[in-house]
Symmetry: C2
Subunit: 367 residues, 2 copies
């Protein structure tokens, strides 16, 4: 049982030249376990959609959007559907599926190949015997969104103020929000993030259109997915960190376990009702935190507050007999992890800790 | 050598009740080959990005888009990067890679599991020994887009007329454009499309933001991908039908072969220069067409014109020693295929024809 409620506050040396630093930091990263090799043998793989509903759009082309002219600008479109891709390892058909949900301004790519080309959590968990399901959040990536409002404003049917604000996290913001270093272009000397490949992380950043979708649709779809899978462990990260808990509060039926990685905005909810806290006490929950939570001036308050709130949440649930574990990596002697710990140089080491938690919690014996 | 320049013009009986029809049409579909079974054994799989460039955004959040307040609304964002996922079969590491590009308002999902849960072309080609690469077009799905202009209009920095028109193909339009039947809700009696699962096709439809990206960026990225792969066959469909040819005209270096499926809007270019036609004459090209091109009143002119233009293009290239084959399925006795022939009930039968063309063209012996 790992419980560590105190963030590590460690000042690190700062280097001035970002490019030099990026190379230097990479060289300083500790070597990690060799990933499992050999062919990847799958019982099945593919993709499907969960949920979705039909709405009528009176502006599904805009003025210049259509390749064809003279076509009706009205019609029905499907929204709130959630795209899910999956891999089931050969021999793992009866194992508990793991559903990994990406964070803000990212897609399921987050869990695939790392920015520097190493094995991501998707393949690693599959190689360890678990079926892995990767959704794109509703209104993101292959799950799409309803662009009607944008076309309506273009066509003068609505005022510009009706447009959604669309969040595109900049390189500068990502560096500091994801805690690659104390300020943009400067890395932590012990950073585990593959900084030489940071451009690939920037390529992963795509616009977050959550303000254009029904807020709860991803949660509903996740609840439904867990039921369809006859039980699953839901993994959330950052923006989606508390999605598994929210999905469980909507329908706990299929949710066997919850892993919340660096729950961000919104952070863990400490205002749940006793009934809600009681419901979550029935589900094993693991909260994971990386390093340097307070070491980036522009995001220190944000992450420290998130960490504090999640620890408070854990205490609330555990006080009524719950099973919430807080895995605070620096408190365990694992240093330098960024917010993107599933992509860090020691990502498989952290995956092993998660797999051990699953083993001890669910009694799976496949690894 | 298959050459058939004449579209089949066949009137089909129309049924009135759409729901009855959908069930009926499905029952009438001819049975297809059993897909290859057993475990799927991969040498490798994963994802990466090709291309991309950095632009400065002065509105990367909009008013209400950010989860955090007090954060700068400016910064650098990466655009024009192309997300690519891949699977390399065990033993197929030396085989010619096949890059399959999706069409309008769709994502790479187009080539994955079919709407009714059957094996798609991605897995089938992998099982036949070929590495398969699935890009999401630039500005689509996991390749993202730059939302700056939308935020700028919301913030009053630009007029609404500057907004892009965003194309979301409606159910009604998709039914007729993809030729599922003569009009929305009515199916062709011999339709090969899995109509009972048409809702899943609608879920695949996501907004086309091509008007927000640099027009040539997907083409540049495809050329670069083919070079990175040291030679590849590029497959385009519909909106992307002529992308392989365009990519080859930018840089033919890595493009060993081209497969253009139902090239749509824009259609095949018959105004190329002699040098351009000559360049394409060096690359084996296969053009594939489904059924009922002229049988949907609202799209008959569009598809007939596209077919005619592509045949004209084929004749131009072949006149200077090229190797362009036109695979007109109804002319070969294969009836009822929709525009989404890679998802039709006989999708693997058509895949076999493509594989045979690759075999005879490139001499591959893996199937």
């Amino acid at each position: 049982m790992i419980r560590n409620m105190n963030p590590r506050l460690l000042m690190v040396g700062l280097l001035a030249a970002a490019s030099l630093l990026v190379r230097g930091a990479s060289a300083q990263n500790a070597p990690t376990d060799n990933p499992p090799g050999g062919p990847l043998v799958l019982a099945s793989q593919g993709s499907f959609f969960v949920g979705g509903r039909t709405v009528h759009s009176d502006a599904n082309r805009g003025v210049s959007g259509g390749a064809q002219t003279g076509v009706s600008n009205e019609g029905d479109v499907t929204v709130d559907q959630m795209y899910v891709q999956y891999m089931v390892p050969s021999g793992g058909e009866q194992q508990t599926p793991v559903v990994m949900v990406h964070g803000c301004c990212l897609s399921a790519k987050e869990y695939e190949t790392t920015p520097d080309g190493r094995m991501g959590w998707q393949e690693y968990f599959v190689r360890k015997g678990y079926p892995v399901y990767l959704p794109d959040q509703v209104s993101r990536a292959r799950s799409g969104f309803d662009p009607t409002v944008i076309n309506e404003v273009k066509l003068g049917m609505r005022p510009p103020a009706d447009l959604p604000g669309i969040l595109a996290v900049s390189h500068q913001r990502a560096w500091e929000l994801f805690r690659l270093g104390p300020q943009y272009g400067t890395a932590f000397s012990d950073s585990q993030f593959p900084l030489r490949s940071v451009e690939d992380l920037y390529s992963q950043l795509i616009p977050d259109l959550n303000s254009m979708s029904t807020v709860t649709s991803t949660l509903t779809d996740l609840s439904q997915l867990a039921l369809q899978l006859h039980g699953a462990v839901l993994v959330g990260h950052s923006e989606s960190g508390f999605f598994p808990e929210r999905a469980a509060l909507m329908n706990p039926g299929g949710i066997k376990g919850i892993i919340s990685i660096e729950t961000g905005a919104p952070t863990c909810d400490t205002t749940l009702s006793p009934d809600q806290v009681g419901a979550l006490a029935n589900i094993p929950i693991l909260l994971i935190w990386g390093d340097h939570l307070s070491d980036v001036p522009s995001t220190a308050d944000f992450w420290s507050n998130s960490f504090q709130k999640c620890n408070q949440f854990a205490a609330q649930v555990n006080a009524v007999g719950g099973n919430v574990q807080v895995m605070n990596l620096p408190g365990m002697g694992i240093h330098g992890n960024s917010h993107m710990l599933m992509q860090d140089m020691n990502n498989l080491q952290i995956a092993d800790l998660v797999l051990s938690w699953m083993d001890s919690t669910f009694g799976d014996q496949s690894f």
